[in-house]
Protein backbone atom coordinates (compact mmCIF):
# COMPACT_ATOMS: atom_id res chain seq x y z
CA UNK A 1 0.00 0.00 0.00
CA UNK A 2 2.83 2.33 0.98
CA UNK A 3 4.70 1.53 -2.26
CA UNK A 4 1.57 2.18 -4.27
CA UNK A 5 1.09 5.56 -2.59
CA UNK A 6 4.72 6.51 -3.28
CA UNK A 7 4.33 5.52 -6.89
CA UNK A 8 1.15 7.57 -7.41
CA UNK A 9 2.71 10.51 -5.59
CA UNK A 10 5.76 10.32 -7.88
CA UNK A 11 3.60 10.22 -11.00
CA UNK A 12 1.53 13.16 -9.76
CA UNK A 13 4.71 15.16 -8.99
CA UNK A 14 6.09 14.48 -12.46
CA UNK A 15 2.90 15.66 -14.15
CA UNK A 16 2.80 18.82 -12.02
CA UNK A 17 6.44 19.51 -12.97
CA UNK A 18 5.70 18.96 -16.66
CA UNK A 19 2.61 21.15 -16.58
CA UNK A 20 4.64 23.84 -14.85
CA UNK A 21 7.03 24.09 -17.78
CA UNK A 22 4.37 25.12 -20.27
CA UNK A 23 3.20 28.68 -20.53
CA UNK A 24 -0.56 28.75 -20.76
CA UNK A 25 -1.54 31.47 -23.22
CA UNK A 26 -3.79 34.07 -21.72
CA UNK A 27 -6.88 34.96 -23.65
CA UNK A 28 -6.16 38.56 -24.57
CA UNK A 29 -9.66 39.92 -24.16
CA UNK A 30 -9.78 38.71 -20.56
CA UNK A 31 -7.05 41.15 -19.52
CA UNK A 32 -7.51 44.79 -18.84
CA UNK A 33 -4.87 47.25 -19.91
CA UNK A 34 -3.73 50.02 -17.60
CA UNK A 35 -1.57 53.10 -18.09
CA UNK A 36 0.50 54.80 -15.45
CA UNK A 37 2.83 57.76 -15.93
CA UNK A 38 5.66 58.44 -13.48
CA UNK A 39 7.09 61.95 -13.64
CA UNK A 40 10.54 62.61 -12.26
CA UNK A 41 13.28 65.09 -12.98
CA UNK A 42 15.90 63.69 -15.36
CA UNK A 43 19.04 64.52 -13.40
CA UNK A 44 18.11 64.46 -9.71
CA UNK A 45 15.28 61.88 -9.99
CA UNK A 46 13.02 64.18 -7.96
CA UNK A 47 9.33 63.33 -8.25
CA UNK A 48 7.30 65.98 -10.03
CA UNK A 49 4.02 66.37 -8.20
CA UNK A 50 0.82 68.26 -8.88
CA UNK A 51 1.34 68.37 -12.64
CA UNK A 52 -1.57 67.91 -15.06
CA UNK A 53 -1.17 64.84 -17.26
CA UNK A 54 -3.67 64.35 -20.12
CA UNK A 55 -4.42 61.19 -22.05
CA UNK A 56 -5.67 61.47 -25.63
CA UNK A 57 -6.94 58.39 -27.40
CA UNK A 58 -5.62 58.34 -30.96
CA UNK A 59 -6.74 54.91 -32.15
CA UNK A 60 -8.37 51.72 -30.90
CA UNK A 61 -6.71 48.35 -31.37
CA UNK A 62 -8.98 45.89 -33.13
CA UNK A 63 -6.21 43.27 -32.97
CA UNK A 64 -3.15 44.51 -31.13
CA UNK A 65 -1.04 41.41 -31.89
CA UNK A 66 -1.39 42.05 -35.63
CA UNK A 67 -1.27 45.85 -35.10
CA UNK A 68 -4.72 46.31 -36.54
CA UNK A 69 -6.21 49.55 -35.32
CA UNK A 70 -8.93 52.05 -36.12
CA UNK A 71 -8.35 55.76 -35.64
CA UNK A 72 -10.63 57.68 -33.34
CA UNK A 73 -12.84 59.91 -35.62
CA UNK A 74 -11.24 63.16 -34.38
CA UNK A 75 -7.78 61.87 -35.36
CA UNK A 76 -8.70 59.91 -38.52
CA UNK A 77 -7.33 62.56 -40.89
CA UNK A 78 -4.05 62.83 -39.00
CA UNK A 79 -3.50 59.11 -38.39
CA UNK A 80 -3.71 58.43 -42.15
CA UNK A 81 -0.59 60.55 -42.58
CA UNK A 82 1.47 58.83 -39.87
CA UNK A 83 3.37 55.55 -39.90
CA UNK A 84 2.00 53.32 -37.14
CA UNK A 85 3.30 50.06 -38.61
CA UNK A 86 5.46 49.21 -35.57
CA UNK A 87 5.63 50.61 -32.06
CA UNK A 88 9.09 52.00 -32.82
CA UNK A 89 7.79 53.88 -35.85
CA UNK A 90 4.68 55.00 -33.96
CA UNK A 91 6.26 56.37 -30.79
CA UNK A 92 8.61 58.86 -32.41
CA UNK A 93 9.07 62.40 -31.18
CA UNK A 94 8.03 63.61 -34.63
CA UNK A 95 4.69 61.75 -34.54
CA UNK A 96 4.08 62.91 -30.98
CA UNK A 97 4.73 66.55 -31.89
CA UNK A 98 2.50 66.35 -34.98
CA UNK A 99 -0.35 64.91 -32.94
CA UNK A 100 0.14 67.50 -30.24
CA UNK A 101 0.00 70.32 -32.82
CA UNK A 102 -3.14 68.75 -34.27
CA UNK A 103 -4.78 68.60 -30.84
CA UNK A 104 -3.94 72.23 -30.15
CA UNK A 105 -5.17 73.35 -33.56
CA UNK A 106 -8.45 71.42 -33.41
CA UNK A 107 -9.00 71.90 -29.67
CA UNK A 108 -9.55 68.17 -29.08
CA UNK A 109 -10.38 67.15 -25.53
CA UNK A 110 -8.46 64.56 -23.55
CA UNK A 111 -10.21 61.35 -22.55
CA UNK A 112 -8.82 61.79 -19.07
CA UNK A 113 -6.73 64.37 -17.22
CA UNK A 114 -5.10 63.73 -13.86
CA UNK A 115 -2.71 65.53 -11.54
CA UNK A 116 0.47 63.71 -10.55
CA UNK A 117 0.57 62.75 -6.88
CA UNK A 118 3.39 63.32 -4.36
CA UNK A 119 5.39 60.50 -5.99
CA UNK A 120 4.93 61.99 -9.46
CA UNK A 121 2.46 59.27 -10.44
CA UNK A 122 -0.57 59.81 -12.67
CA UNK A 123 -2.44 56.51 -12.66
CA UNK A 124 -5.02 56.35 -15.44
CA UNK A 125 -6.09 52.87 -14.40
CA UNK A 126 -7.93 50.69 -16.88
CA UNK A 127 -8.05 51.94 -20.44
CA UNK A 128 -9.41 50.57 -23.73
CA UNK A 129 -6.87 48.81 -25.93
CA UNK A 130 -5.40 51.49 -28.15
CA UNK A 131 -2.78 54.06 -29.05
CA UNK A 132 -2.62 57.13 -26.82
CA UNK A 133 -0.83 60.45 -26.65
CA UNK A 134 0.25 61.65 -23.22
CA UNK A 135 0.60 65.38 -22.76
CA UNK A 136 2.08 66.83 -19.58
CA UNK A 137 1.42 70.37 -18.47
CA UNK A 138 4.52 72.51 -18.88
CA UNK A 139 5.80 74.69 -16.08
CA UNK A 140 8.54 77.27 -15.63
CA UNK A 141 10.69 74.53 -14.06
CA UNK A 142 10.21 71.37 -16.08
CA UNK A 143 9.16 70.36 -19.58
CA UNK A 144 8.02 66.91 -20.64
CA UNK A 145 7.66 66.29 -24.37
CA UNK A 146 4.34 64.76 -25.46
CA UNK A 147 4.77 61.07 -26.10
CA UNK A 148 2.87 58.16 -27.62
CA UNK A 149 2.08 55.08 -25.64
CA UNK A 150 0.23 51.88 -26.42
CA UNK A 151 -1.90 49.65 -24.24
CA UNK A 152 -1.18 46.83 -24.30
CA UNK A 153 2.42 47.17 -25.37
CA UNK A 154 3.08 44.23 -27.66
CA UNK A 155 6.09 43.24 -29.74
CA UNK A 156 4.11 40.57 -31.59
CA UNK A 157 4.99 37.85 -29.10
CA UNK A 158 4.77 39.22 -25.59
CA UNK A 159 2.23 41.78 -24.41
CA UNK A 160 2.46 44.05 -21.40
CA UNK A 161 -0.95 45.05 -20.18
CA UNK A 162 0.12 47.24 -17.28
CA UNK A 163 2.11 49.90 -19.05
CA UNK A 164 4.22 52.30 -17.02
CA UNK A 165 5.88 55.28 -18.73
CA UNK A 166 8.81 57.16 -17.27
CA UNK A 167 9.04 60.25 -19.48
CA UNK A 168 12.06 62.50 -19.26
CA UNK A 169 11.39 65.80 -17.53
CA UNK A 170 13.98 68.37 -18.50
CA UNK A 171 14.62 71.72 -16.90
CA UNK A 172 12.56 74.17 -18.98
CA UNK A 173 15.55 76.27 -19.99
CA UNK A 174 17.58 73.26 -21.21
CA UNK A 175 17.81 73.18 -24.99
CA UNK A 176 16.87 69.87 -26.64
CA UNK A 177 20.36 69.27 -28.00
CA UNK A 178 23.01 71.06 -25.95
CA UNK A 179 25.99 71.93 -28.14
CA UNK A 180 28.45 70.17 -25.83
CA UNK A 181 26.56 66.90 -26.14
CA UNK A 182 26.56 65.99 -29.83
CA UNK A 183 25.11 62.46 -29.78
CA UNK A 184 21.37 62.90 -29.26
CA UNK A 185 19.91 60.87 -26.47
CA UNK A 186 17.21 58.61 -27.82
CA UNK A 187 13.81 58.42 -26.13
CA UNK A 188 13.30 55.50 -23.80
CA UNK A 189 10.98 52.70 -24.76
CA UNK A 190 8.13 52.71 -22.21
CA UNK A 191 8.63 50.01 -19.62
CA UNK A 192 6.10 47.57 -18.27
CA UNK A 193 5.80 46.32 -14.69
CA UNK A 194 8.28 43.57 -15.44
CA UNK A 195 11.90 43.69 -16.52
CA UNK A 196 12.56 42.10 -19.92
CA UNK A 197 12.72 38.31 -19.90
CA UNK A 198 16.34 37.81 -20.84
CA UNK A 199 16.61 34.08 -20.25
CA UNK A 200 16.67 31.26 -22.73
CA UNK A 201 14.47 28.30 -21.84
CA UNK A 202 17.00 26.21 -19.92
CA UNK A 203 14.98 25.24 -16.88
CA UNK A 204 12.15 23.56 -18.85
CA UNK A 205 14.75 21.39 -20.61
CA UNK A 206 16.01 20.13 -17.27
CA UNK A 207 12.53 19.65 -15.80
CA UNK A 208 11.30 17.78 -18.88
CA UNK A 209 14.38 15.56 -18.87
CA UNK A 210 14.11 14.70 -15.16
CA UNK A 211 10.37 14.10 -15.51
CA UNK A 212 10.95 11.86 -18.52
CA UNK A 213 13.62 9.79 -16.79
CA UNK A 214 11.42 9.45 -13.66
CA UNK A 215 8.46 8.20 -15.69
CA UNK A 216 10.67 5.83 -17.62
CA UNK A 217 12.14 4.36 -14.42
CA UNK A 218 8.71 4.08 -12.77
CA UNK A 219 7.28 2.42 -15.85
CA UNK A 220 10.14 -0.04 -16.07
CA UNK A 221 9.92 -0.90 -12.36
CA UNK A 222 6.19 -1.45 -12.74
CA UNK A 223 6.81 -3.65 -15.79
CA UNK A 224 9.36 -5.76 -13.90
CA UNK A 225 7.16 -6.08 -10.80
CA UNK A 226 4.20 -7.27 -12.87
CA UNK A 227 6.45 -9.68 -14.72
CA UNK A 228 7.53 -11.28 -11.43
CA UNK A 229 3.93 -11.47 -10.18
CA UNK A 230 2.93 -13.19 -13.41
CA UNK A 231 5.77 -15.72 -13.01
CA UNK A 232 4.70 -16.51 -9.41
CA UNK A 233 1.04 -17.04 -10.31
CA UNK A 234 1.88 -19.27 -13.26
Amino acid sequence: MKKLLIKYFSILTVFIMVLGTFQIPVKADDKNATIRVVLSELKDKMSIENREVSLYKIASFTNYKEREYKAVPEFAEMVDRLDFSTFKKTATLDNSNKLFEYITKHKISAVKTLKSDSEGIADFGEVDYGIYLVVTEASDKYTVNPFIIEAPLCDGVYAQYDVIAYPKAKASNTPDNPPDNPPDNPPDTPVGPKLPQTGVQRLPVLILFISGVTLLVLGYADYRRKGKMYEKTS
Partner: protein, 192 residues
Protein backbone atom coordinates in the same frame (compact mmCIF):
# COMPACT_ATOMS: atom_id res chain seq x y z
CA UNK B 1 -3.22 -5.87 -20.78
CA UNK B 2 -1.94 -5.69 -17.20
CA UNK B 3 1.28 -4.18 -18.47
CA UNK B 4 -0.54 -1.35 -20.25
CA UNK B 5 0.07 1.11 -17.41
CA UNK B 6 3.81 0.34 -17.41
CA UNK B 7 3.96 0.86 -21.14
CA UNK B 8 2.09 4.16 -20.95
CA UNK B 9 4.50 5.40 -18.28
CA UNK B 10 7.55 4.40 -20.31
CA UNK B 11 6.18 5.93 -23.52
CA UNK B 12 5.31 9.17 -21.67
CA UNK B 13 8.83 9.25 -20.20
CA UNK B 14 10.41 8.69 -23.59
CA UNK B 15 8.26 11.45 -25.12
CA UNK B 16 9.32 13.91 -22.41
CA UNK B 17 12.99 13.07 -22.94
CA UNK B 18 12.59 13.61 -26.69
CA UNK B 19 10.80 16.94 -26.10
CA UNK B 20 13.55 18.07 -23.72
CA UNK B 21 16.20 17.11 -26.28
CA UNK B 22 14.31 19.01 -28.99
CA UNK B 23 14.00 22.09 -26.77
CA UNK B 24 17.69 21.87 -25.90
CA UNK B 25 18.58 21.64 -29.59
CA UNK B 26 16.34 24.61 -30.36
CA UNK B 27 18.12 26.65 -27.69
CA UNK B 28 21.47 25.73 -29.20
CA UNK B 29 20.35 26.74 -32.68
CA UNK B 30 19.00 30.08 -31.39
CA UNK B 31 22.29 30.71 -29.56
CA UNK B 32 24.29 29.95 -32.68
CA UNK B 33 22.11 32.20 -34.84
CA UNK B 34 22.24 34.95 -32.22
CA UNK B 35 26.02 34.86 -32.04
CA UNK B 36 26.38 34.85 -35.82
CA UNK B 37 23.89 37.72 -36.18
CA UNK B 38 25.63 39.76 -33.47
CA UNK B 39 29.01 39.17 -35.08
CA UNK B 40 27.72 40.42 -38.45
CA UNK B 41 26.15 43.54 -36.93
CA UNK B 42 29.25 44.30 -34.87
CA UNK B 43 31.56 43.98 -37.88
CA UNK B 44 29.34 46.29 -39.92
CA UNK B 45 29.13 48.77 -37.04
CA UNK B 46 32.90 48.85 -36.61
CA UNK B 47 33.36 49.39 -40.32
CA UNK B 48 30.89 52.30 -40.42
CA UNK B 49 32.42 53.82 -37.28
CA UNK B 50 35.89 53.60 -38.79
CA UNK B 51 34.85 55.16 -42.10
CA UNK B 52 32.68 57.85 -40.45
CA UNK B 53 30.11 57.52 -43.21
CA UNK B 54 26.79 59.37 -43.43
CA UNK B 55 25.07 56.42 -41.78
CA UNK B 56 26.01 57.94 -38.42
CA UNK B 57 23.10 60.18 -37.51
CA UNK B 58 22.82 61.68 -34.06
CA UNK B 59 23.91 59.07 -31.61
CA UNK B 60 23.13 55.95 -33.60
CA UNK B 61 23.88 54.00 -36.74
CA UNK B 62 21.12 52.39 -38.77
CA UNK B 63 21.74 48.84 -39.95
CA UNK B 64 18.75 47.32 -41.74
CA UNK B 65 15.66 48.54 -39.90
CA UNK B 66 17.36 48.96 -36.55
CA UNK B 67 19.47 51.62 -34.85
CA UNK B 68 22.62 50.82 -32.88
CA UNK B 69 24.30 53.11 -30.39
CA UNK B 70 27.64 51.40 -29.88
CA UNK B 71 29.57 48.35 -28.78
CA UNK B 72 30.01 46.90 -25.31
CA UNK B 73 33.07 44.93 -24.39
CA UNK B 74 33.67 42.90 -21.23
CA UNK B 75 37.15 41.38 -21.55
CA UNK B 76 36.75 39.10 -18.54
CA UNK B 77 33.97 37.05 -20.14
CA UNK B 78 35.12 37.63 -23.71
CA UNK B 79 32.03 39.60 -24.74
CA UNK B 80 32.05 42.21 -27.48
CA UNK B 81 28.58 42.93 -28.76
CA UNK B 82 26.57 45.63 -30.53
CA UNK B 83 23.99 47.58 -28.53
CA UNK B 84 20.69 48.46 -30.16
CA UNK B 85 19.13 51.83 -29.39
CA UNK B 86 15.78 50.36 -28.34
CA UNK B 87 14.83 47.11 -26.73
CA UNK B 88 12.51 44.40 -27.91
CA UNK B 89 12.58 40.63 -27.72
CA UNK B 90 13.31 40.49 -31.43
CA UNK B 91 16.35 42.80 -31.12
CA UNK B 92 17.65 40.90 -28.10
CA UNK B 93 18.15 37.82 -30.26
CA UNK B 94 21.11 39.42 -32.04
CA UNK B 95 22.34 42.27 -29.86
CA UNK B 96 22.40 43.78 -26.43
CA UNK B 97 19.65 46.37 -25.96
CA UNK B 98 19.54 49.78 -24.33
CA UNK B 99 16.76 49.39 -21.80
CA UNK B 100 16.78 52.97 -20.53
CA UNK B 101 18.89 56.10 -20.14
CA UNK B 102 22.20 57.07 -21.69
CA UNK B 103 25.79 57.39 -20.62
CA UNK B 104 25.81 61.21 -20.81
CA UNK B 105 23.14 61.31 -18.11
CA UNK B 106 24.93 58.49 -16.27
CA UNK B 107 21.84 56.34 -16.06
CA UNK B 108 22.26 53.87 -18.90
CA UNK B 109 20.80 50.38 -18.49
CA UNK B 110 21.66 47.62 -20.95
CA UNK B 111 19.98 44.23 -21.04
CA UNK B 112 21.05 41.08 -22.82
CA UNK B 113 20.06 37.45 -23.17
CA UNK B 114 21.73 34.95 -20.86
CA UNK B 115 22.73 32.70 -23.75
CA UNK B 116 26.37 31.83 -24.28
CA UNK B 117 28.32 34.50 -26.15
CA UNK B 118 25.98 37.15 -24.72
CA UNK B 119 25.41 37.70 -20.99
CA UNK B 120 25.49 33.99 -20.17
CA UNK B 121 28.54 34.48 -17.95
CA UNK B 122 27.63 37.90 -16.57
CA UNK B 123 27.37 36.45 -13.07
CA UNK B 124 31.15 35.90 -13.22
CA UNK B 125 31.71 39.65 -13.48
CA UNK B 126 32.50 41.18 -10.11
CA UNK B 127 33.58 44.43 -8.49
CA UNK B 128 36.71 45.84 -10.08
CA UNK B 129 36.22 44.19 -13.48
CA UNK B 130 36.41 46.40 -16.54
CA UNK B 131 33.75 47.21 -19.10
CA UNK B 132 34.33 49.24 -22.27
CA UNK B 133 31.62 51.18 -24.05
CA UNK B 134 32.34 52.52 -27.54
CA UNK B 135 29.79 54.98 -28.90
CA UNK B 136 29.13 55.50 -32.62
CA UNK B 137 31.66 58.31 -32.85
CA UNK B 138 34.34 55.86 -31.77
CA UNK B 139 34.75 57.36 -28.30
CA UNK B 140 35.69 54.63 -25.82
CA UNK B 141 34.61 54.95 -22.20
CA UNK B 142 36.20 52.69 -19.60
CA UNK B 143 33.93 51.66 -16.78
CA UNK B 144 34.60 49.67 -13.65
CA UNK B 145 32.15 47.36 -11.89
CA UNK B 146 31.33 48.68 -8.42
CA UNK B 147 28.40 46.52 -7.40
CA UNK B 148 26.42 43.44 -8.37
CA UNK B 149 22.98 42.41 -7.19
CA UNK B 150 20.02 40.15 -7.84
CA UNK B 151 16.76 41.98 -8.48
CA UNK B 152 13.31 40.45 -8.77
CA UNK B 153 11.94 40.43 -12.32
CA UNK B 154 9.01 42.59 -11.27
CA UNK B 155 11.06 45.08 -9.26
CA UNK B 156 11.55 47.64 -12.03
CA UNK B 157 11.96 50.40 -9.44
CA UNK B 158 15.07 48.82 -7.88
CA UNK B 159 16.63 48.34 -11.29
CA UNK B 160 16.08 51.99 -12.22
CA UNK B 161 16.95 53.41 -8.81
CA UNK B 162 20.13 55.45 -9.06
CA UNK B 163 21.33 57.70 -6.28
CA UNK B 164 24.35 58.77 -8.31
CA UNK B 165 26.09 55.51 -7.38
CA UNK B 166 26.26 54.01 -10.86
CA UNK B 167 26.62 55.27 -14.42
CA UNK B 168 25.78 52.10 -16.30
CA UNK B 169 23.93 48.91 -15.38
CA UNK B 170 24.05 45.62 -17.25
CA UNK B 171 21.52 42.92 -16.51
CA UNK B 172 20.35 39.50 -17.57
CA UNK B 173 18.10 36.72 -16.26
CA UNK B 174 19.29 34.15 -13.78
CA UNK B 175 18.86 30.44 -14.50
CA UNK B 176 15.20 30.26 -13.48
CA UNK B 177 14.31 33.50 -15.24
CA UNK B 178 12.63 34.94 -12.14
CA UNK B 179 15.50 37.19 -11.02
CA UNK B 180 17.77 39.58 -12.89
CA UNK B 181 21.50 39.73 -12.21
CA UNK B 182 22.51 43.39 -12.31
CA UNK B 183 26.06 44.67 -12.70
CA UNK B 184 26.51 48.32 -11.71
CA UNK B 185 29.42 50.21 -13.24
CA UNK B 186 30.88 53.69 -12.96
CA UNK B 187 32.98 55.61 -15.45
CA UNK B 188 36.59 54.93 -14.52
CA UNK B 189 37.81 58.54 -14.83
CA UNK B 190 38.25 59.89 -11.35
CA UNK B 191 38.29 56.50 -9.67
CA UNK B 192 41.94 55.75 -10.10
Amino acid sequence: MKRLRSKILMIAGAVLIIVSAALGAYNRIMEKRGNEGAETIRTELEQIMEEHTDSIKGGSIRIGDDDYIGILEIPKINVKLPISRDWSYELMKESLCRYRGNLESKNMIICGHNMSGFFGELSEVYDGDEVYYTDVTGKVTRLVVVDTEYIDGYDVGSMLENNHNWDMTLFTCNYTGKMRYGVRCVIADGIE
